[in-house]
C-alpha cells in the first residue's frame, strides 16, 4: 500500500477535527464563570454549575419524562421492528417493496411533516396530549432502526440452521427461542440502544406531540431560542452527550463483529 499524500492526510484529519471541536467547546463552557454571554475565552473556571443543575427539580422532571418515553418507545420498536424484519428478511411477495419503503418513510420524510400529521390526527380524534402521544410519535421512527439492524443480521443467518433445528424436532416457537433469538440477540440489543438514543434526543416530532409536557430536548430547545440560564444549559448539554454516548458506543461494539454470525460461513 502506498502512503497517502500529505495534503490528503491534512484534509482528512481537518475534517474529523471539524466534527469534534464543537463538542469539546461545550465541555469547556460548562466550567465558565461567565453567565450572561458566550464570551471566549472564559474569564474563569468553576464547578458550581454542576451543583446548581443537581438541585433543579424541573430539569430532573424533564430527564425522567425523556427516560420513560425512550424506554417505552424502544420496547415497542423492538417488538414491531423484529416482526417486520422477520417477515421481510427472506420472503418474496407482491407488495414487498412498498412495505419496506413504508418502514423507512418516517425517517425519510421531514420530521415536521410527521409531527404536524400526528398532531392533526390527535386533534381529530380528540386524544389529549400525554406520555403516550409522545411515545406514539417516537416509536414510529424508532421501528426502522431496529428493523435495519435485525434485517441485516437475519439475512446473514443461514437458513440451514433453522432447517436443522426443525429436522431435530423443534417446533417453530422453540426454533425461534433457541436458534434465531440467540443469533440476532446482539443486533436487537444494538438496534434497541440506537432507538433509545434517537428517542431520548428527538425534538422535532416531540414539539407537536408533547403539548405542555417538557422532555429534556424540549427544555433545551426553549433555552436555545431564548437563552436565560446559559451555564445550566451548558451542563445539561454535557449530560445529554454522556447519556447518548454510552449506548452508541455499546451498540458499536455489539455489531462490530457482525460478519462472524453462526452459519454465515456455510
Amino acid at each position: 500500500m502506498t502512503r497517502a499524500p500529505l495534503s490528503l492526510k491534512i484534509a482528512a484529519i481537518g475534517g474529523l477535527a471539524f466534527l469534534h471541536i464543537p463538542l469539546l467547546f461545550i465541555l469547556l463552557y460548562c466550567f465558565t464563570t461567565e453567565e450572561k454571554s458566550y464570551a471566549f475565552p472564559p474569564p474563569g473556571f468553576t464547578l458550581k454549575w454542576f451543583g446548581v443543575v443537581w438541585g433543579r427539580a424541573d430539569i430532573w422532571a424533564a430527564v425522567g419524562l425523556s427516560l420513560k418515553v425512550a424506554s417505552i418507545a424502544t420496547v415497542l420498536a423492538l417488538i414491531l421492528g423484529t416482526l417486520a424484519a422477520g417477515a421481510l428478511a427472506r420472503a418474496r411477495f407482491f407488495g414487498r417493496e412498498p412495505i419496506s419503503l413504508l418502514f423507512v418513510l418516517p425517517i425519510a420524510l421531514p420530521g415536521i411533516v410527521t409531527g404536524i400529521a400526528l398532531r392533526q390526527a390527535f386533534g381529530l380524534m380528540e386524544i389529549p396530549f400525554s406520555l403516550w402521544t409522545i411515545v406514539l410519535g417516537h416509536a414510529t421512527f424508532c421501528i426502522v432502526v431496529v428493523y435495519n439492524n435485525a434485517v441485516a443480521r437475519l439475512r446473514r443467518l443461514s437458513p440451514s440452521l433453522i432447517e436443522a433445528s426443525m429436522d431435530l424436532g423443534a417446533d417453530a416457537f422453540q426454533t425461534f427461542r433457541l436458534v434465531i433469538l440467540p443469533n440476532i440477540g446482539t443486533a436487537l440489543l444494538a438496534g434497541g440502544m440506537l432507538a433509545f438514543a434517537l428517542s431520548f434526543d428527538e425534538v422535532i416530532v416531540t414539539t407537536f406531540t408533547a403539548g405542555q409536557q417538557s422532555t429534556l430536548p424540549i427544555w433545551m430547545l426553549s433555552e436555545l431560542i431564548r437563552p436565560r440560564q446559559r451555564p445550566v444549559t451548558n451542563v445539561v448539554a454535557v449530560l445529554v452527550i454522556l447519556v447518548t454516548f454510552l449506548p452508541i458506543l455499546a451498540a458499536y461494539y455489539l455489531t462490530r463483529h457482525g460478519e462472524a454470525v453462526a452459519g454465515s460461513g456455510k
Binding site: M1, A4, L8, A11, A12, G14, G15, L16, F18, L19, H20, P22, L23, I26, Y38, A39, F40, P41, L80, L83, A84, G86, A87, L88, A91, F93, I99, L102, F103, L105, P106, L109, P110, I112, V113, I116, A117, L118, R119, Q120, A121, L136, T140, I143, G169, D171, A172, L194, I204, P217, M220, L224, I225, A237, V240, I241, T244, I248, Y252, R256
Partner: protein, 315 residues
C-alpha cells in the same frame, strides 16, 4: 453410534405444536401474521394521519372567518407560486444545495483516506470518529455552533488573534452571505447544517470508494495516466453514486429542518419555518399542507434522478 442414543426431548404435543405446524407449512401465512402488527401501526396510524394532513392541501381557508373551507380547490396549491411563497421555496433549495456541496467537499478526503490508505485499526477509529457525532444529540450540536458563532464566541476571538478580524467583518458585510454576526447569517446556518449532516455524506462516499476495484486504478497507472488523471477519470466517476447517496440525506434533512434557522439564521423564513408558523399562529392548515408537499416532491424528483446514477447500491 446410533441415532437412538441421542437424548432428544420428545416433540411437544397439543395446540402449540399444531399451530407451529400450520405456520411452518404455510410460510405465507406466517409472513402475513408477522406483518400485521407493524403494518397496523405504520400503515394505519402513521400513513393515515399523513394522508389526512397532506390531503387538506386541496382545501382552502376562508379569509374572513379563518375557518377551513372543505371544498376541493387548486387555489391553495397555486398560492405556493406567489412571489413571497416561491421565494421561500427557492431560498430553502438554495441553502440545501450549498450544504450538500460543502458536505461533499469536506467528506471526500475523509472517506478517501479511510477507504484507500487507512489500515484496519485506523479505519475502525475513523468509523467511530464519524459515528459518534452522527448519533450525538442534535440540539447539543446546534448549541455548540451557537457558542462558536456568537459575536463574542470562539470563532470571532480566533479571527481577532490571527489578525483576520477585518476579513471576518468584510465577509459579514457582503450581501446575502453576511449579516450582523455569524450567528444571524446564512453563512452560520450553512456551516451548522454542514456540521450536522456531514457524517451522512462520509459513510456512503466511503462505501462507494471501497468498492472501486484496486486493479482498475493500477491498470490506469500502468497505461501511463498520472495520479491526477486517474483520480479524475477513474476514481471520481466511480465515487459519484456515493456522493449522490449522501446528498439524498444532506438535501432532505436540510429541506425539512426548522429548528436551526430559528436559532442560527436570518429573519427570512425557510420551508420548515413557513410550515411551522402556518400551522401554528396563522392556523392555515391547508397552506401548511401545501408547503409540506414541496420537500416531498423535491425529494421524489431527487430520488428518481439518484436511482439512475445507481446511488441506491451505495447506501
Amino acid at each position: 453410534m446410533s441415532l437412538a442414543t441421542l437424548d432428544l426431548p420428545a416433540p411437544r404435543e397439543g395446540l402449540l405444536r399444531r399451530l407451529s405446524d400450520i405456520l411452518v407449512r404455510r410460510a405465507r401465512l406466517l409472513t402475513l401474521l408477522l406483518l400485521v402488527p407493524p403494518l397496523l401501526w405504520l400503515g394505519l396510524v402513521y400513513l393515515g394521519s399523513l394522508f389526512v394532513f397532506l390531503g387538506q392541501s386541496i382545501f382552502s381557508i376562508d379569509e374572513f372567518s379563518g375557518t377551513i373551507v372543505r371544498e376541493p380547490t387548486t387555489a391553495t396549491l397555486l398560492e405556493l407560486f406567489r412571489p413571497a411563497n416561491f421565494d421561500i421555496v427557492l431560498r430553502t433549495v438554495g441553502i440545501a444545495s450549498a450544504v450538500t456541496l460543502l458536505c461533499a467537499v469536506i467528506a471526500f478526503p475523509i472517506a478517501y483516506y479511510a477507504a484507500r490508505y487507512a489500515g484496519p485499526k485506523v479505519k475502525a477509529a475513523f468509523y467511530l470518529a464519524v459515528m459518534m457525532p452522527l448519533w450525538s444529540s442534535y440540539l447539543v450540536k446546534v448549541y455548540g455552533w451557537k457558542l462558536l458563532l456568537a459575536r463574542e464566541g470562539a470563532i470571532g476571538w480566533l479571527a481577532g488573534k490571527l489578525g483576520l478580524g477585518g476579513a471576518l467583518e468584510a465577509w459579514l458585510a457582503l450581501p446575502l452571505v453576511g449579516g450582523p454576526s455569524l450567528s444571524v447569517s446564512y453563512t452560520g446556518m450553512v456551516l451548522t447544517f454542514t456540521y450536522l449532516w456531514l457524517p451522512f455524506m462520509i459513510l456512503p462516499v466511503q462505501a462507494a470508494l471501497e468498492r472501486v476495484p484496486p486493479h482498475l486504478i493500477e491498470a490506469a497507472g500502468d497505461l501511463g495516466a498520472a495520479p491526477g488523471l486517474v483520480f479524475r477519470t477513474v476514481i471520481l466517476p466511480l465515487a459519484m453514486p456515493g456522493v449522490v447517496a449522501g446528498g439524498i440525506f444532506t438535501f432532505s434533512l436540510t429541506l425539512g429542518d426548522y429548528i436551526v434557522p430559528q436559532i442560527i439564521g436570518t429573519s427570512a423564513l425557510v420551508l420548515g419555518q413557513a410550515v411551522y408558523t402556518l400551522q401554528g399562529t396563522a392556523g392555515n392548515i391547508p397552506l401548511a399542507a401545501a408547503f409540506s408537499l414541496v420537500p416531498i416532491l423535491v425529494m421524489a424528483v431527487f430520488l428518481t434522478l439518484a436511482k439512475r446514477t445507481g446511488a441506491f447500491d451505495a447506501l
